[in-house]
């Protein structure tokens, strides 16, 4: 029982430390405010760890009660981004709170998972069976989708297509895990996929560009395709053993943009090669596997769905981010959990892991 606590803690700590090392290596040659960015990341990791300890001690069932408050807060912050959010790299994703920038979409992901987990694990008053088994198409699909759709729309409008689609993915996965009929899910998926060509017109120009260069980065090697090309070069030039700590030319001479945030995997991979990168992927897999194991041995439906949701969210973020680093997925603004620089992502990930640990800790109560 204490096992999962330490396993997750150690795994997360190793990943976070390698993240700090990568951030340091990619920014130590830059001047001015960039130089202490790794210190700020250390601070975030420390705060994250504190949150992890606190959350892992709080009973997760309290989330059940706080559900509407959390959902409401997430919506509120997302609205606030529209009004007060600061614009960086062409997207309005951040709220300036005191001395740091807060990214509500990170928080919203967790909020949605909590909301859906609760929604699908309600029981009728007189019966101990789950309500979700009896859900029709409206209550099983449309209603929850409206609840997911509002924050999703707000996030996509920021614009942050990656995080928005992440919500959609979590939604579909949780639908799949509850007893909602397969028929509904398939209908839903068809409804999403069919009008995709139509959605093309709603994409922003840069998003279209990114999708096009995903298909062929060389159509615009100095513009939209530049990042993918440089990131692939960075990863590939690592070879088997990598170029060594602080000797990656791609990330240290700034050929690779966003080398400390979204493209930190490329930075890491250039320096540690195939060996280090596959170990890192393995570490991520072990954390996610730990989440699945916790989900499987939890009897409480809410806890189970919550654990699945968190693990799936993590795995999908890791997959999309690393795949886009390798040019296997289009470039979307998704950070690599635990590694990329950014307070919101680090905090939310540690809190999510804390919830996971707590689910495992509390399960014997039932």
């Amino acid at each position: 029982m204490r096992n999962s606590f330490f396993t997750i803690l150690i795994l997360a700590l190793i990943i976070a430390i390698s993240g700090v090392l990568s951030i340091y290596s990619s920014t130590y040659q830059k001047e001015g405010a960039w130089q202490d960015i790794h210190l700020r990341q250390i601070l975030w990791v420390t705060i994250g760890l504190v949150c992890f300890f606190i959350v892992s001690g709080l009973n997760y069932r309290k989330l059940w009660d706080a559900n509407y408050f959390i959902y409401g807060a997430a919506l509120f912050f997302l609205f606030l981004v529209f009004v007060l959010g600061i614009t960086r790299l062409g997207a309005q994703r951040w709220l300036k709170i005191a001395w740091f920038n807060f990214q509500p979409s990170e928080f919203a992901k967790l909020a949605i998972i909590i909301f859906l987990a609760r929604y699908f694990s309600r029981k009728s008053v007189d019966d101990t069976s789950l309500l979700s088994g009896k859900f029709g198409i409206f209550r099983g699909l449309i209603l929850p989708f409206i609840f997911v759709g509002i924050p999703m729309f707000l996030i996509i409008e920021q614009p942050d297509l990656g995080s928005g689609l992440m919500l959609l993915f979590v939604f579909v996965c949780l639908l799949y895990l509850t007893n909602v009929r397969l028929k509904y899910i398939l209908t839903f998926l068809t409804l999403i996929i069919l009008p995709l060509p139509f959605f093309w017109h709603f994409l922003r120009d840069y998003q279209k560009q990114r999708l096009l260069v995903f298909l062929n980065p060389n159509i615009d090697p100095l513009g939209a395709g530049y990042t993918i090309i440089q990131s692939r070069i960075a990863i590939g030039s690592g070879g088997f053993f990598g170029r060594g700590w602080l000797s990656g030319s791609q990330s240290q001479l700034y050929f690779l943009p966003e080398s400390h945030t979204d493209f930190i995997f490329a930075t890491f991979s250039e320096q540690w090669g195939f060996l280090g990168s596959s170990l890192l992927i393995l570490l991520y897999y072990l954390i996610i596997r730990q989440g699945f194991v916790i989900a499987q041995r939890t009897q409480d439906t809410f806890g189970r769905l919550l654990a699945y949701g968190i693990s799936l969210l993590l795995s999908m973020q890791v997959f999309i981010n690393i795949a886009m680093n390798m040019g296997l997925a289009p470039v979307v603004g998704l950070p690599l959990p635990l590694m990329s620089y950014g307070g919101s992502s680090i905090l939310v990930t540690f809190i999510a892991l804390g919830i996971l640990v707590n689910i495992d800790r509390t399960r014997t109560v039932f």
């Binding site: 070069i233 088997f240 050929f255 195939f274 390798m326």
Partner: protein, 570 residues
């Protein structure tokens, strides 16, 4: 199946896909990406060494290098280029538009300096250098260029330098030659290009994504090419070229004992500097109908005419078809079969000495008919005709000596006595190069040895003459050599001798003239000889293309020898 297990597999599949992608990038395509990564951040800035000098036998410079200056601009900040170019144009006196056009044409990337003007004078380079403090983007790069202090002198020996062509590139790629390399064409520049060639050195530097210099990764000093010392004596070369000037043809002076070429002059000639700084004139050189680029001394062959009588007399004496008492009466013509073969004059009774001195055709017709065509052919080959001699300059041709067998096989025709008669006076299909003619007479000057003519004495200070000097005995009887040598002397000493003009020289000359009939235009004039007669040191060969009778060549040779004795070179 349980939905949870399916989801589990889905996640496992995702991570396996990531590992596969990583495997592909790192291990399958790793080396490609490593190269791309290096080309991202490593820049080479080359520094040129100087091509080796070409010296004459006394160490005097025939070709060297002068420093020229290129003005380059480092285009780190494109908005600054305009004012910088204006400044440069003010100093150089070149219009801004021209500089701008050059800049646009040569621009590669922000980290590579762009050449905007080349070959500027030292004064202007210094003036621009003053500006460097306030405009650090101006770079003045010294570049060694070929310099020809004597202009066209010895141009066919030297050759010229130019950008490498496609054919040479495919041939030389494996030896480290690259596109746009400057290589030698023709002459020593081509043949010894590998030694003369400088080794490019330079800096390899690391730059960041803006092309900003980060640090130096390595430096290799450029290396100059090796100097090539020739056997040419510049004074003799000058004398030969002066005597030849205005007359199409070539003149060769060779050391009679060692085979060192002391002078090798051709006219028309060209100035190799044209290829360095007057490139607009190049096409005129190539289109000139007189083909000034051809090295006539080795690159084209001509009928030898009467100088071939040296072969005839040596062969006749060796084969004992004639001796000192053999006398034929020259009545101006003789019948060979049903055709009448004329002599150029009526000489009366002629023995071997007189026949050589007067160049009597009748004597050699008859001697030739006695020996037969095959013997003449064989002796011609013994004297080095009819094949290349592996001379050091490129594009040597072999010349040609016909024989009955050759005619049968290649022309499907029979060989007639008339052909033998023609061959014995060096007419017909017979062709020799001036250098072959020079070597042909060597055995009579040095007591029976064919030489291996050579022109490069030392490379990079290493003396090669011991290796190059090669004597081939022709194995003629001493009496034969003596008789022919005396006969050659009589060409000059006899009052009636065809080369009598030379008798007024302070030095005793022996030799043979020749007047080659050609199908169209004036005759070719030949003179081959050696001097001083008692103790031969020099072999001289003068050939004038369409230069008239052999006398013209003798006059030319006289000028050269006079000049040499005036300068005390003999």
């Amino acid at each position: 199946m349980d939905r949870k297990i399916i989801l589990n597999f889905f996640v496992i599949f995702m991570f396996i896909a990531l590992l596969a992608g990583l495997f592909n990038l790192d291990l399958l395509q790793g080396s490609k990406f490593r190269k791309l990564s290096d080309s991202n951040c490593i820049r080479l800035i080359s520094q040129l060494g100087a091509r080796g000098n070409i010296l004459d036998r006394n160490g005097e410079v025939i070709v060297n290098n002068k420093i020229s200056y290129d003005v380059m601009v480092l285009p780190q900040d494109l908005s600054q280029i305009g004012p910088v170019l204006t400044k440069i144009s003010r100093i150089l006196g070149i219009s801004t538009n021209e500089l701008n056009a050059a800049f646009k044409k040569n621009f590669i990337s922000a980290s590579v300096p762009v050449t905007v003007a080349s070959n500027i004078e030292l004064k202007k380079a210094v003036a621009l250098g003053e500006y460097k403090a306030e405009e650090p983007s101006i770079i003045i790069a010294p570049k060694p260029l070929r310099n020809y202090p004597y202009g066209a002198l010895a141009c066919h020996i030297i050759g010229y330098v130019n950008e490498i062509d496609r054919w040479r590139l495919t041939k030389l790629e494996d030896y480290g030659y690259k596109t746009k390399d400057i290589v030698g064409f023709g002459g020593v520049e081509e043949k010894y290009d590998y030694y003369l060639r400088q080794e490019e050195g330079g800096l390899s530097v690391e730059v960041n994504h803006r092309g900003k210099f980060m640090r130096v990764l390595g430096f290799q000093a450029p290396r100059n090419g090796k100097d090539v010392q020739l056997t040419i004596d510049l004074n003799i070369q000058k004398a030969a070229e002066e005597a030849l000037s205005g007359k199409k043809g070539s003149a060769i002076l060779m050391d009679a004992q060692s085979g060192e070429i002391l002078a090798l002059a051709n006219y028309p000639n060209f100035n190799p500097a044209v290829f360095v700084n007057q490139r607009s004139k190049i096409s005129r050189l190539f289109n000139n109908p007189d083909s000034p680029l051809v090295n006539r001394a080795i690159g084209s062959s001509y009928p030898p005419a009467s100088i071939f009588k040296i072969v005839g007399s040596a062969a006749g004496l060796e084969l004992k078809k004639i001796n000192l008492s053999t006398t034929y009466v020259c009545s101006g013509s003789t019948m060979v079969g049903r055709r009448k073969f004329a002599c150029w004059d009526t000489h009366g009774p002629q023995d071997i000495y007189q026949a050589l001195a007067h160049s009597c055709d009748i004597f050699f017709y008859k001697t030739g008919l006695l020996m037969g065509a095959q013997s003449i052919h064989d002796y011609a080959l013994k004297l080095g005709l009819g094949r290349t001699m592996g001379f050091e300059l490129p594009y040597e041709v072999s010349g040609f000596i016909p024989s009955p067998l050759w005619r049968k096989i290649n022309r499907f025709q029979n060989w007639f006595d008339g052909d033998t008669a023609n061959l014995s006076i060096g007419q017909g299909d017979c062709l020799v190069t001036p250098l072959q003619a020079t070597n042909m007479i060597a055995p009579f000057a040095n007591g029976g040895y064919l030489l291996n003519p050579y022109i490069v004495k030392a490379i990079g200070g290493l003396d090669l003459s011991a290796k190059k000097k090669k004597l081939t005995a022709v194995n003629f009887r001493k009496s034969t050599l003596d008789v022919v040598t005396k006969g050659l002397r009589r060409v000059v000493s006899d009052k009636e001798g065809t080369g009598n003009v030379l008798s007024s020289l302070p030095v005793a000359v022996a030799g043979k003239t020749g007047t080659a009939q050609v199908t169209r235009g004036a005759t070719h004039a030949w003179f081959v000889g050696f001097f001083p007669y008692e103790n031969p040191k020099f072999i001289i060969c003068v050939f004038l293309e369409h230069g008239g009778p052999g006398h013209a060549a003798v006059v030319c040779a006289k000028k050269i020898i006079e000049e040499m004795s005036l300068k005390g070179l003999i």
